[in-house]
Amino acid sequence: MKKYLLILIIFFLILSTSLIKNSTKKIEDEIFNVKENLRNLNSELEDVFLEYIYLSSSEKLLEFQSLYFEDQLIPKDISKIKLIKLKNGQNYIEDLNIIKR
């Protein structure tokens, strides 16, 4: 009886070892694929972000301003900038202020 039990355990271990090995191999392959995809996506994201930074740079925006919005984009005095705040379900308008007391 002991022998059968031992053989059964060994058989079970062999089976589970091969199953685990097989599943880890699959996981490793999946990790590799995900890693490669992420690397490409990250690289693409960085390139797109770099392009975005260039196109939205202050220098470029001023160029676009002179081309398209010359009379629309003007510097605002701080006293003319207001904040809308929600307190107790109601909107309040406050001045934007750098001075804090």
């Binding site: 060994i10 271990l13 880890t24 690289s43 740079s57 510097p75 006293s79 904040l83 750098i98 001075i99």
Partner: protein
Amino acid sequence: MNLRIISDNNKNDFSLNKIKFNTSIQFNRIAFIFFIFFVIYLIYTFHLIHLGLKKSYNKQLNNFNSTSTKFQRADIIDINGNYLAKTVSSIDVGIKPEDIIDKKKLILNLKYIFPNKDFVEIEQRIEKNKFFKFERRITPDNYEKIMKLGDKSIVAEENVIRLYPQKNLFSHIIGQIDDGNKGISGLEKSLDERLKYSKDPIRLTVDKEIQFLIRSELVRYQEIFKNKGAAALLMNVNNGDIISLVSLPDFDPNLRENITDANYINKVTKGTYELGSVFKSFTYAAALNEELIKPESEFLNLPKTIYCGRFPISEYDEKIPSDLTAEKILIRSGNIGSVRIAEKIGSEKFKFFLEKIGVLGQINFDIEEIASDKNFEFDRCRLETAAFGHGITTTILQLAKGYSILSNGGFYIEPRLIKRKKNEEPKNQILNDGVSEKVVSALRKIVNTEEGTANLADVNGYEIAGKTGTAQQPIEGEYSRAKINTFASVFPSSKPEYVFIVMLDTPKKSTDYVYTLRNNKGIIKGTPFNTAGWTAVEVAAKIIEKIGPILATKSLEVEENDFERLLQ
């Protein structure tokens, strides 16, 4: 009989032992195999658990830079995550003529992808039968198209380049590298090793938008005052974070030029200047800190001229009264009064005070382009001239550090360009309680009272406080007509947040520039005097007007974030 019995017994014993022995051998073998399988089983179990748990491994993979390892260099970003320096990979495509199978077909395909190329020249190069670069820095679209041709004569080579997308804007901060990926100036030099081995970008404290606005105003006023250079520094007085650092002239690091002109020196961190009356704030603060004076302490019968050896020390303005309080001496920018205050302090204590707040001595900073320690001897004459900012030199960076400590309650801070992960509150208070408030109050009166020299900076809504400094520059041991005009400001004065320094190198009077005086006092055409009050103050005020709303918005964002964090 007895013998037989014994013999039988022995025989049985022997056979029994033999059986036992065999079983033991079999059992040990099975146990050994069992053990081996058990170990293998354990290894794979641990491996599986390990893969499941190791998140950081994936994170590292995500950050893995695809560029070649020999040119690995981390990116540098500003406080908002905008790239200031970036390593990008590019692909060059070359052709190996010996591997071409069908030349006509290849050229036809290439013409389709690159219609604007000179194919007569390319055919000649193919004829030479030597490898050549067909397209440098190919676009991803064209790369895909050309590789889809499947021609084995087409060879792709991966290269990396260091890009500075902001061009001149951060040249004095970032610096540049040589062709061997070695930093030769700025942060590229001081952080060389870290940049080479770090996978994560390095975040700075500077703000791209504010830097742009400050630089563009400095460039605009450079044309008005015809100054040969300029510098500006905006810093948080409470933690030393540098929000903007501009030094003109600057350069485009993408061009990789060898700069030898001394005018391209970093005027904020490396250039040392006699900065004139901006030093009077330190004289006043040192005396207050030593409890030698109070703001209302009177100095009577001040002469118009005194002598230090054979060198005269005079008031810049003959109208300055002979009887002044200590605070009025600072507000009216009195030279003789400042000398009298310094004499009360004494050479040793005054030098120690200037070293303590970082105005003298060598500064510890994130880039290597800093001024060396000059170790001035503080004799009586030096004490008298240093009291009003002459005969002693420092950098704009050290001046900003000094003004930050004077205005933040007297807490020691170190200027910094690299953002720390945690915002540490300054803890080391090096000035006595109340000194800071008294100094800032006097600086505010320089801006918002008629007697002050910086009325042009009284911009509504910012409570600017500050001190002007007009200093003649020594050339070959003699004071020349060339001036360094400086305005050191702190705002808002009720609760100082920022120190802002503007320095103009050798400005000239403008005949055409129209000044709009503050508080509806009319306009003036042309620069009346070539002093800081009419040059550097005007520039600083115009800049603060432009950047103020952005700074206010950003501090608001910080407050709201803090509030949300508290709620969590």
